[in-house]
Amino acid sequence: MNGFHLLTLLTVLPMVGAALALVAGKHARAVALITTFASLALALLVWIRLPINGSIGLVEQHTWAPSLGIEYHLGVDALGALMLVLAAIVTLMSVDAAHRVHHQPGLYFALVLMLEAGLFGSFTALNFFHWFLFWELCLIPAFFLIKLWGGERRGPASTQFFIYTMAGSAALLVAFLAIFVSTNSMDFPHLTLLASTGELEQMVAVHLGQTVIIWLAIGVLAGFAVKVPMFPFHTWLPAAYAEAPSPVTMLLTGAMSKMGVYGLLRIALPLFGHQIAQIRTPLLVLAVATVVMGAWAAAAQKDLKRVFAYMSVNHLGYCLLGIFALAVPAAATGTDTAAVASQSAALNGVILQMFNHGITAAALFWFVAMLQQRTGGHRGIDQFGGLRKPAPVLAGLMGIALFSSLGLPGLNGFPGEFLIFRGAFPLAWVAATVSILGLLVTAVVILTVIQKVFTGPLPEHCANFPDLHQGERMALAPVIGLMFLVGILPQLITTSVNPTVINLLAHWRF
């Protein structure tokens, strides 16, 4: 217990900001900037105040509707806190990038801030109802941000986005209805405990039948797979990412996609680790398909936003690879310490990758937004060229972000991917080997982008291409700095994350 209610404060703050933004009219962006700055400060405070033993801290618990198993139960460990920091950074970047919203700015920034509140709520909730409330709360603003401010084909894109995520939510809801009926609880830590002793499985078997739990596991996995997204549930993503205004795409890929991975780690593995271990092989196949397909599809795109959209699919595929690789059936590992070390390496890698991909992908879409602004909306790869000359700073910084995305050592993309492969290779060497193909293809894609955009002849419409102005440099500098910082000193994150990883693995039963 903690009298300060830091997490509640963090969640409520953007909601208040949203209400203010709605009435602020022209000054909505200023309100949003102040709110997101304050949120980031609070999120960092949460990160600092984490318990050092990796357990869940800053807990707030109150009764809510006991007959339904609904509690107000909040808390974070390093995983949750890192996601809070990421969400706060990405939202700040997004607000920063969105300085040309002419159409209903009040509503736009209010929706962005509601989305941030939804992210904070879902990363801190420890009760299904509470979590689901905020999970859905993210969906509505995202839908309207695409629908109202999106590109030409925003109608179908937002529709597809809405239908897919709603279907995923329905699967989650049904699964938790079944869990509640069997256990009379919707509390994540309590259910995790039940699952770790095998009681959850028995209870579901008694109440619903022997084979039901595997279907529940599949339902929950499907719900998260849509959000991540995992092949073959990814088809909504390219259209949504391409049609959304770039600052919104930053939020979608930087923060919202992490809700899916987070859900796998906080809900799916703790509750259904044993079942996931049983269907590990097909899941690994899908993870590898996500990696490889994402990379190949990125290579085939002509639109920069679609290139980066598919690269996001590819990068999150590594998270899936790490997660499913570490779900080794208990019988296979026993008390083998080497296997445990691999598992914890993979999990550390997954969590790092979540953070790094969020920062890097958001930065990339930010650069696309800048390219679009400067050329009147162009974003085809072949429509650019030779930008290195007129805009050396932009080219340099975007190059850094691209190399970070590629996973160059010394930048933030590297440690996460390295740890994932380091952990996954001993546990699932075939999957890991095939996935390395994905790495090669992404390298080709990224180098192609660099070549086509920055080198070669300068097209006519880029003749007066301005470089980054002072404000943009100031805004980008901390982000690029962060890429180097995490790349060189990943222990800034891993020292806090590692105890949580050990703690999580200790409670998972495969």
Binding site: W64, S67, I70, L137, L148
Partner: protein, 513 residues
């Protein structure tokens, strides 16, 4: 004698009835030349009624059934003027108060025979209060019948699309249902032979099982007609569409709840053994409980599918009511604590949300666009021209599809949990209804407010030429009231559950024994 002197402050609830009827009487006598006076008078009565309802609800927290008034009426037959309130009554009275206030607010622009309109309106409200507070079966039936008359006139005089047909259909269905209920009640009085018509006494009269077996379906169906149970639901969409906005709000918001309330308070509480298994089963149906659960589920799915195919915006909402009321009936048929609690909460929740939806569609949008055809609304770009209506509908729509954080989620979740404990297939079937519910709400929202169609030059010209009237304060207040309540209950469901749960427990235990 006068309940206001009664020591228990819950007993002020009885004044909701007297006050509404008195208001109706006064309004009928007010000269018709002063519509503003009639409006404000009606608002004052409705707000006072709501204040009394809130006061009774708050004072009644933690209490069981409280007797409000108990007078002998027809001693030879044991009929009493017995008003009482348990948790279920208090919650539904609160609902009635809220919808009544909102209904007056959304009738602010009624120009035709304003005073008569509000007189009928308050009479209907008074009768509804009466049904929810009657603990004498005969008295309950009297109020139930009184409610039919103002409904007819409100639709027939102030209605729109095919109003005479719709009003007549509504009355015929209502009377048919009442006739079934009446036969059941008379038979119950005779069989019990205890010279009382008190609900509590009858529940303990030990009616023979064979009698309950035929009387239960009769009475339950009679009431369920008004609750919009498939296949007797057809009065509901036509009635809702033809009725003026405030009356649609009342019909969907509280009148359908009268039916569901009767199903619970009379059908289930008096004839619980009527739900016992028959001892044989046909295609998986082995009791009246299975029959009515099946009809409820068909209603949920059928209502949703038909709503998906509508071209008239108001019909979408009309059929959605059939679907959502199916959840109430399904919850009742679970006969377990959580399912029946969910049913009662769903009555409240749907009352608020349906009221809000009808207000937006029938008043805020229709009175400005003069069309309810989705195909025409699609060309009007209402999200730009009527942003208040668009965003109000987004909120109402989210509440309606059962988005967590709104009252509908908690209610439907409870019904589903209760149903799951009885029969998994019920849940799976009802789940289809929820998915379709998302689809039709979303389709209506897209078409009516957020269409992607580019406007034709003609329409653009019109848009520049004429602006829609500004949103008025009664509309803003009404939307804020209803949306706020749904949100408050969704975020803090215990505010109602703490009152509903003990009452449901008593009712189920009293019945099952």
């Amino acid at each position: 004698m006068f309940s206001i002197l009664h020591p228990n402050s819950v007993s002020l609830l009885a004044w909701t009835i007297y006050l509404s009827f008195a208001g109706a009487l006064v309004l009928a006598l007010v000269p018709g030349r002063k519509p503003a006076l009639a409006r404000w008078l009606a608002l004052a009565v409705a707000v006072t009624g709501l204040a009394l309802a809130v006061q009774g609800f708050v004072a009644g927290m933690g209490q069981g059934r409280v007797t409000l008034v108990d007078l002998r009426w027809v001693p030879s037959m044991g009929i009493r003027f017995l008003l009482a309130a348990d948790g279920i009554s208090r919650v539904l009275v609160l609902l009635t108060g809220l919808v009544a206030v909102a209904g007056v607010l959304f009738s602010w622009n009624i120009k035709l025979r304003t005073n008569e309109f509000f007189a009928f309106f308050l009479a209907l409200i008074g009768a509804v209060y009466g049904v929810f507070l009657s603990f004498d079966l005969f008295l309950l039936f009297v109020f139930y019948e009184i409610a039919i008359v103002p409904k007819y006139f409100l639709i027939a005089i102030w209605g729109s699309t095919r109003r005479e047909y719709a009003a007549m259909k509504l009355v015929i269905y209502s009377f048919a249902g009442s006739a079934m209920v009446l036969i059941g009640l008379l038979a119950a009085f005779t069989t019990a032979g205890s010279h009382t018509t008190g609900l509590v006494e009858l529940a303990h009269a030990g009616l023979p099982v064979s009698f309950q077996m035929w009387c239960f379906p009769l009475v339950f169906t009679g009431f369920a007609i008004l609750a919009g149970m498939w296949p007797f639901h057809t009065w509901a969409p036509t009635g809702h569409v033809a009725a003026p906005t405030a009356v649609s709000m009342l019909l969907a918001g509280v009148v359908m709840k009268l039916g569901a309330y009767g199903c619970l308070r009379v059908g289930i509480a008096l004839f619980p053994r009527g739900l016992d298994p028959w001892g044989f089963s046909l295609i998986g149906i082995g009791s009246w409980r299975d029959v009515f659960a099946a009809l409820a589920i068909i209603g949920i799915v059928y209502g949703a599918l038909v709503a998906l195919a509508q071209t008239d915006f108001k019909f979408v909402i009309g059929y959605s009511s059939v679907s959502h009321m199916g959840f109430v009936l399904l919850g009742l048929m679970t006969l377990n604590q959580i399912g029946v609690t969910g049913a009662v909460l769903q009555m409240f929740s749907h009352g608020i949300i349906a009221g809000l939806l009808f207000a937006i569609v029938g008043r805020i949008v229709y009175d400005r666009t003069h069309t309810r055809q989705l195909a025409e609304l699609e060309t009007m770009h209402l999200s730009r021209r009527l942003p208040f209506a668009a965003w109000a509908f987004v909120v109402a729509g989210m509440a309606s599809i059962g988005m967590p954080g709104f009252s509908g989620f908690v209610a439907e979740f409870q019904v589903l949990v209760g149903a799951w404990n009885v029969n998994h297939w019920w849940v799976l079937a009802a789940g289809i209804g929820i998915v379709v519910g998302v689809a039709y709400t979303w389709r209506a929202m897209q078409k009516a407010f957020f269409s992607d169609l580019l406007p034709s030059a003609h329409v653009l010209e019109q848009e520049h030429g004429q602006h829609f009237g500004a949103i008025t304060w009664p509309e803003v207040t009404g939307v804020a009231l209803l949306a706020g309540v749904s949100l408050a209950v969704g975020v803090w469901p215990r505010i109602l559950l703490d009152t509903i749960e003990p009452a449901v427990k008593t009712l189920l235990e009293g019945g099952v024994q």
